[in-house]
């Protein structure tokens, strides 16, 4: 391919990009190496007493000494990891359903109706994103654990996740509802459709792509959440996957093999999902920020 005059040579650009590709992929390759090593150590190889440069180079090469899937097998079978993933799945799925339902109706009202408190409501949703987690965490802990006795339960976590997801979902969905022409609804209204019917049979089907994207984000957020789950789920069998993975390598426990294998199992679906969704996320976030 011939370059047009005045264009920069591509070779240094490729070199720079390759350096960054190494930086971004190395930690990921490292996790795969540990996961497939069949051991719990966080060293790729065991170094001899006086390692040479070759030994050290081997120690940073992301390829296990022997490839073994035993970590994957035993993390699922021998460890309570499967149970943690189940907890995460239930919590994240229920969060998505509850959160998106609440967000859909609210976003529709914010988009279509003009009513006192509309602007205040939208602004308060934005401001609530600024509340530091720890400020609401203490009262939430007191309310859910000490008053309602919902510590270490799915319901407690689902309610918190769903409600904290509302503002983001509302802003995403409202933006999309705003783009649906009102004429459609008006003609349905002329034909005598009730407001609920218009919402469920005309607007929601039209907004399906946006609802799907919002739902996936709500799911991912709940799936990846760590602090709230770590604070509220203090029984080992009720851990979610993030808390469980931390359990493998936190404190004095050093089960890096289980951690790596578990991380890969937990992260692969969301990484793929994220790659597919990130263009929506960027437009949603920056649009919201510009408006705010």
């Amino acid at each position: 391919m011939k370059r047009a005059a005045g264009e920069v040579p591509h070779f240094p650009l490729h070199l720079l990009l390759l350096v960054f590709v190494v930086i971004t992929t190395y930690p990921i390759l490292w996790v795969f190496t540990i996961a497939f090593s069949g051991k719990q150590s966080l060293a790729i190889v065991n170094l001899p007493a006086n390692p040479s440069v070759q030994d050290r180079l081997r120690a940073i090469t992301p390829w296990p000494e022997e490839v073994s899937a035993s970590n994957f097998v035993s993390v699922v079978q021998d460890q309570p990891f499967a149970r943690w993933v189940l907890n995460s799945t239930i919590v994240a799925a229920a969060t998505t359903v509850v959160g998106v339902f609440m967000a859909c109706t609210a976003a529709y009202a914010f988009s279509r109706f003009r009513f006192p408190g509309r602007r205040a409501g939208l602004m308060s949703f934005l401001v609530s994103q600024m509340f530091p987690g720890t400020l609401t965490l203490i009262p939430l802990y007191i309310i859910l654990v000490q008053w309602l006795g919902l510590g270490s339960s799915w319901i407690g976590l689902i309610l918190i996740y769903a409600c904290t997801a509302i503002p983001f979902c509302v802003w995403m969905l409202k933006g999309y509802f705003d783009t649906i022409p009102r004429e459609l609804e008006e003609s349905a209204l002329m034909d005598g459709a009730s407001s609920a019917r218009i919402f469920y049979q005309i607007v929601l089907p039209l907004a399906k792509p946006a609802v799907a994207v919002t739902a996936l984000f709500a799911f991912m957020t709940a799936w990846n959440e760590f602090i709230l789950a770590a604070t509220f789920m203090d029984k080992e069998e009720m851990y979610t996957a993030p808390v469980g993975l931390r359990f493998f390598v936190g404190g004095f426990s050093q089960q890096w093999g289980y951690f790596a294998a578990g991380s890969i199992l937990v992260a692969i679906p969301v990484v793929i999902l994220f790659m597919y969704l990130q263009k929506y996320l960027v437009s949603g976030l920056t649009a919201g920020a510009v408006k705010g």
């Binding site: 540990i34 940073i60 609210a106 003009r114 987690g133 400020l135 939430l140 991380s263 790659m275 920020a289």
Partner: protein, 589 residues
């Protein structure tokens, strides 16, 4: 059509439907009277309820105290007769006759292990007293020993820390009290009585008093409506009356300030006509409100209520031990805030010399700002450079590079944090292996603030640049190519093109991204908590992780709430300031 037509068209622009009704005098005066009634009902009602509850718990204590006195009297009777012998039973009988509250009594001498006198039916099974204690009566002997030990310990240590009597509340409502007696300075036994608690005079204020206090201001306002024709004066009179009522009725001033505030708000809400307007608005737009109700209720219960409750907590000294006490008893005003803000002991003197006191708020604030600035700067710089490179025309493998470079953003950040924590491991971590290949010494990353900072910034930099890259790339791709062509024709250099075309086009996308990224990084809990965990000695703690540790490792809920409120205030000020700054730049551009 069953339901009313929804208002699809904006009837009026978001403001309440202020149908400027002509100020009908009667309804205004009525509103004020009702407002006074409701506000007085709230304040006086709650104060009365608190008084009743307080006096109930107080009288329970008083009951027990009165019975203890009776038990002591019984013990004194036994002590006067030497604590044992034939004389005790008749003396006790005589004493008990003068004590209508005593249902049963027993006197036990633990030196001789004998039951000297008793009217407990259970004691008669083993034979009438006086007699030796039987084997099943061992618990009674043990009780005597416990009392003796407590009395002796208290005498030795000169305290009253160990209870010198025992009180057991029976299911029937009676109390069982045991008091030891001394003969020649040593505890030789005890007297135990079962008594109906002597009900002390109830200190609870009578209900009619509360009712009178609720009715009085209402009636006065009602009377005033006949003489005062001006609603403003009536309103002020109502307010003054209300405050006077609360002031006069209040028995404990602590709770009354909060209640007075609530009552005044309620009065203004009802008396000022806001309640009427709100309810008519609710009715008029009920459809819209139905739609937002689930979200709003959820947000109110689990986001806004916890937020305000947190702010209230920040004015108390609540911690894990006092979590069950009412907040009014733990109220300490702004002390937590004063402690945080005025803690200027940034340095402390140790034998090793002056050291920074890492637990100090200002150090943590400084570190948080340093952390935020460093990360955002790295994110923007790396992201922008990569975006510019990826935006090069005809570059091969562009899509592949893009996917690989976005990966860090896609990985859940707690996993990223734990991975890097493993790679920074002093002995086995790959980063130290790389350093050793180049002949360096392995670094113990989390033992010095500087290296610990480097580690957390590296981790966060790794996961935060892709966002900036994607945002910049999107903006770059939307710049029309003709602009550059025109610039080249005019002889602009590459740098000039960048300055005058690229940067201005990037700005609208980059500024919101930076604003977001500042807030994210400022609150980036997971990386600090999981990678450095504040090591060494809390020097790499950011505000949010510090607040978490105060709450869930030191269990000082009130202080942690104040700390979090300060964080919120900082973010809010930043948000307002930022909003102004961006508006200013927008209006210039």
């Amino acid at each position: 059509m069953a339901s009313p037509a929804p208002q699809l068209e904006p009837a009026h622009d978001g403001t309440p439907s202020r149908t400027p009704a002509p100020p009908r005098r009667a309804s205004g005066a009525g509103r004020i009277a009702v407002g006074v009634l409701l506000a007085a009902l709230l304040a006086v009602g709650v104060m009365h309820w608190l008084d009743v509850r307080r006096s109930a718990s107080r009288s329970q204590g008083a009951e027990a105290e009165a019975t203890i006195v009776v038990a002591r009297a019984a013990a004194d009777v036994a002590a006067k007769l030497g604590g044992e012998g034939e004389g005790i039973a008749p003396a006790m009988t005589a004493w008990a006759q003068s004590q209508p509250s005593v249902k049963a009594y027993r006197v036990i001498n633990i030196d001789s292990r004998s039951l000297e006198a008793s009217t407990f039916p259970a004691d008669q099974q083993e034979g009438a007293p006086p007699r030796r204690l039987a084997r099943p009566e061992k618990p009674l002997y043990d009780l005597g020993q416990t009392l003796r030990t407590n009395v002796e310990t208290n005498a030795e240590e000169q305290t009253t820390g160990n209870p010198e009597f025992t009180v057991e509340r029976q299911a029937s409502g009676d109390v069982l009290v045991a008091a030891p007696f001394k003969v020649d300075g040593a505890v030789t036994g005890f007297a135990q009585i079962l008594a109906t608690p002597v009900a002390p005079k109830s200190t609870a204020p009578p209900l009619w008093r509360a009712l009178a206090f609720i009715a009085a201001p209402f009636l006065v306002v009602l009377g005033l409506t006949f003489f005062v024709r001006n609603n403003t004066i009536l309103f002020i009179a109502g307010l003054v009356l209300l405050l006077a009522t609360i002031w006069l009725h209040a028995t404990e001033k602590g709770a009354s300030y909060g209640l007075a505030t609530a009552a005044v708000l309620l009065f203004v809400f009802v008396g000022g006509g806001y309640a009427g307007r709100t309810s008519s608005a609710l009715l008029e737009h009920r459809q819209a409100y139905w739609y937002i109700a689930p979200a709003i209720i959820g947000m109110l219960l689990l986001v806004f209520f916890p937020f305000f409750y947190g702010i209230i907590l920040s004015f108390t000294r609540q911690n894990i031990y006092t979590a069950n006490q009412p907040l009014t008893e733990l109220w300490i005003g702004a002390k937590n805030y004063v402690d945080i803000i005025t803690d200027v002991n940034i340095f402390r003197n140790t034998p090793a010399g002056r050291q920074i006191n890492y637990g100090n708020f200002y150090w943590t604030l400084f570190f948080t700002i340093l952390w935020t600035v460093a990360n955002v700067a790295i994110g923007v710089a790396v992201g922008l450079v990569l975006a510019l490179v990826l935006n090069t025309k005809n570059l091969r493998f562009k899509a592949l590079y893009r996917v690989l470079l976005i990966l860090p953003w896609a990985v859940p950040n707690y996993i990223t944090a734990l991975i890097w924590k493993g790679m920074f491991h002093q002995q086995f971590g790959v980063i130290n292996q790389v350093i050793q290949i180049f002949g360096g010494d392995p670094i113990s990353w989390f033992e010095k603030p500087a290296t610990s900072f480097a580690a957390v910034v590296t981790t966060n930099g790794w996961l935060s640049f892709p966002f900036m890259m994607v945002v910049s790339l999107g903006a770059l791709q939307s710049i029309p190519g003709d602009l550059y062509e025109a610039a080249r024709v005019d002889g602009a250099t590459r740098w000039q093109q960048f300055r005058s075309i690229t940067l201005p086009s990037l700005k609208p996308a980059l500024i919101p991204a930076i604003i977001l990224s500042v807030v994210w990084t400022f609150n980036m809990f997971n990386i600090i908590y999981l990678v450095s965990a504040g090591e060494p000695a809390g020097s790499t703690e950011i505000l949010i992780t510090q607040a978490y540790k105060i709450a869930f490792e030191q269990y000082r809920y009130g202080y942690a709430a104040a700390y979090s409120t300060v964080i919120f205030a900082i973010l809010l000020i930043y948000g307002i300031f930022q909003n102004r700054a961006t508006r200013a730049t927008e209006s210039i551009a």
